[in-house]
Subunit: 417 residues, 2 copies
């Protein structure tokens, strides 16, 4: 009878062999000796993005200089990159632009949404939403000083009861950053609409990780992150979506020149551009947008249903492997076991989660820790393999069995974890 | 008797020979055959920024991945880059950060300033201020919906009469983007304070072009651009300054996680960081900030008084050369003739300014056009030479004499000019 680990190795090899997305892994620079399961914090570098950045720096900036705004098409980058992301998240043509940070974009769309529901003062969200979304809503409410209030659901099941005829906006992140739980965008958007509210979705942990259908699922506004599953590089530009039905009426407060109808006419008064372009603000970073643009090449021709299929298979395999190999060591799955209810990450709680995370990193298995006790592993279906998943599971098992994670050096806290 | 052009050539050579900043030109990639006088639109690439970007992409992102937030110091980049800009603009320690775009930063500091003057509803600025500053103020006033009003001076001389006990903020750009006229920051800030208002300065065309003394001149808030004289690359991160006396009281509305007291504690409620750090919002672009950081190396050890001396000499030389070589061809100087009243650019009006600008570009002399009739030439004292100034002047003279700029192909308008 073969050993347990041999069985798992065979399974991983068979799954990798059958993986039709496997060739895409070669597009990425994956550091030698590292099993990287943190693409939901920072996606890996593609060779294409590296080459593109060299060209943008050397030729477009270095030699083309100011002429590159026209000749290299810099001026259209927010719309052009936005159009490529639109396909991945089911946005209509001309409904999505890449710009600014997720936080800044949230401010823009939330302010627009509130203005479309002037008689209502409540923003409903979840206490477990990613904090910056709640901070931005709080900052906007304070600035408006009109009695807007944030009502937070303690559990996803409590959301429906909170959405009432006082609710202006239901603001949710589709995939929870800690647990990986996936909301049903269609039913929650419908719920918001039934009660006269608007639905605003943060796609930070879903864009590029699974098929999103903003148009079909009735999202009114959305934002998302460029540096996670889209692999745009550290602090990459974010994106924002405005449903076509709101574009003419929507006014956003960060009304800078790039959102003006004629930015280079240098007029004194602000006239919003037509469509989603009015949601642009200042001069965008060409370096950052170009890296994101090139990174999106990896999605060219990728069927998002096939991507999801691989993602589900990877997370299912990982959960099964961890539970088989680490049984009895105190890991508790907090990610929904039902595939349809999770994104592309798997999280476990463990009392020593922080130290375990550090010890794993020393072994070359990079996941991350989320306070107070979560070990989080992101599976980027473009480049992660079943061998990655198995390697992580066996390393966790080995650390738990040996208790090496209890070493003092794994307890020290870093600034960013 | 030598020809007029020989005399000018001798003068340019002598001035370049005497220029103590001349070695700095070698730090920049200056395209062959191009005389670049548009560093006030987009600064040139330094070899250092090019090398740094390769390292950030290949090593920090490509190999270090998520660990680089700590190990490569990404998390401190906004403050670290800010501290380097602080020296160039006379800001106190811990009073300046690099982040977001100039437009977004203006929104943050203007909202903070208005909140510090709750009983006042007027923002005073100039009609000739750079449009995005006016657009952002308009967007903020509309969002606040509390009757804030923008009062615009038609001429700089009209500003004092507009600043009254209703004025919350005097918001000015230190160097005018069209004419190059330089405001007296000290006296205008004093004027604002005498009338109980706050002084907000946009340093887009002054940071890195001349010595600025934010602390000494009594600025309350300031913003500035990273991609002009600071050479940070297309769409580089901007910066913002908050005088130390306002930092504890100032609240900015774009309260994202990077401005939180403990961003990685993932708390639900927003607690502002101490000091100017609370003015950060979302995750900053590491690529863009790194390029700006490296570009600032060119200023290391540069005495800003010496930089100003060279800038004044360059613009004086250029004005004299153009007026001598192009006399009678309709160019009118709109930049103040008195050096103390101008920044580091020289602008002329001409009825055919657009076509002339295009014809100059074809000859390799890159300045820019500002509607309706301005030809604008920026002099970046770190890399521009007196030979550059003379070459531009002789090329303008040649085009005016030959009237080659009247060719049809120079009339076609581009998107960005």
């Amino acid at each position: 009878m073969p050993a347990l680990s041999d069985l798992w190795t065979e399974r991983a090899e068979a799954a990798d062999h059958a993986d039709r997305l496997r060739p895409l892994r070669a597009l990425f620079h994956l550091p030698e000796g590292m099993t990287y399961l943190d693409g939901n914090s920072l996606g890996c570098l593609t060779y294409g993005a590296r080459a593109r950045l060299r060209d943008v720096v050397d030729r477009e900036w270095g030699t083309g200089l100011i002429a590159s705004w026209n000749q290299a098409g810099w001026v259209d980058l927010p719309a052009r990159v936005g159009a490529r992301i639109a396909r991945l998240v089911g946005a209509e043509e001309g409904a999505l632009v890449a710009c600014d940070s997720t936080s800044v974009n949230l401010f823009k769309v939330l302010a627009s949404a509130l203005a479309l529901r002037p008689g209502r003062r409540v923003i409903v969200s979840e206490r477990s939403n990613f904090p910056t979304d709640l901070y931005m809503a709080e900052g906007l409410a304070n600035l408006l000083n009109q009695g807007h209030e944030l009502r937070l659901a303690d559990h996803a099941d409590d959301i429906p009861a909170l959405v009432t005829d006082e609710t202006a906006v239901l603001m949710l992140t589709q995939v929870n950053y800690r647990t990986g739980a996936l909301h049903d965008m269609a039913s929650l958007s419908r719920l918001a609409h039934e009660r006269g509210a608007l639905a605003l979705w943060d796609l930070a942990h879903s864009a590029g990780a699974l098929p999103v259908d903003l148009a079909g699922d009735g999202a009114d506004f959305a934002i998302g992150c460029g540096y996670k599953y889209l692999n745009g590089g550290p602090g990459a530009p974010a994106f924002l979506y405005v449903a076509p039905c709101h574009q003419a009426a929507a006014r956003q407060p960060l009304s800078g020149w790039f959102g003006h109808a004629a930015p280079f006419a240098f007029e004194t008064g602000y006239q919003p551009a037509s469509g989603v372009t009015r949601f642009l603000t200042g001069t965008p970073s060409v370096l950052a947008l170009s890296a994101l643009d090139a990174a999106l090449d990896a999605f060219d021709g990728v069927d998002m249903a096939a991507l999801r299929e691989k993602s589900v298979a990877l997370t299912r395999f990982f959960i099964a492997a961890v539970e088989a190999l680490c049984a009895g060591h105190g890991l508790q799955l907090v990610t929904p076991r039902e595939p349809a209810r999770r994104g592309s990450q798997v999280s476990f709680t463990h009392p020593a989660a922080y130290a375990l995370c550090q010890a794993l990193i020393e072994e070359g298995v990079v996941g991350d820790f989320r306070a107070p006790d979560i070990l989080r592993f992101g599976f980027a279906p473009l480049y992660n393999s079943f061998a990655d998943a198995l390697n992580a599971a066996t390393t966790i098992a080995e650390l738990l069995a040996s208790k090496r994670y209890e070493d003092e050096r794994f307890q020290r806290r870093n600034t960013v974890t």
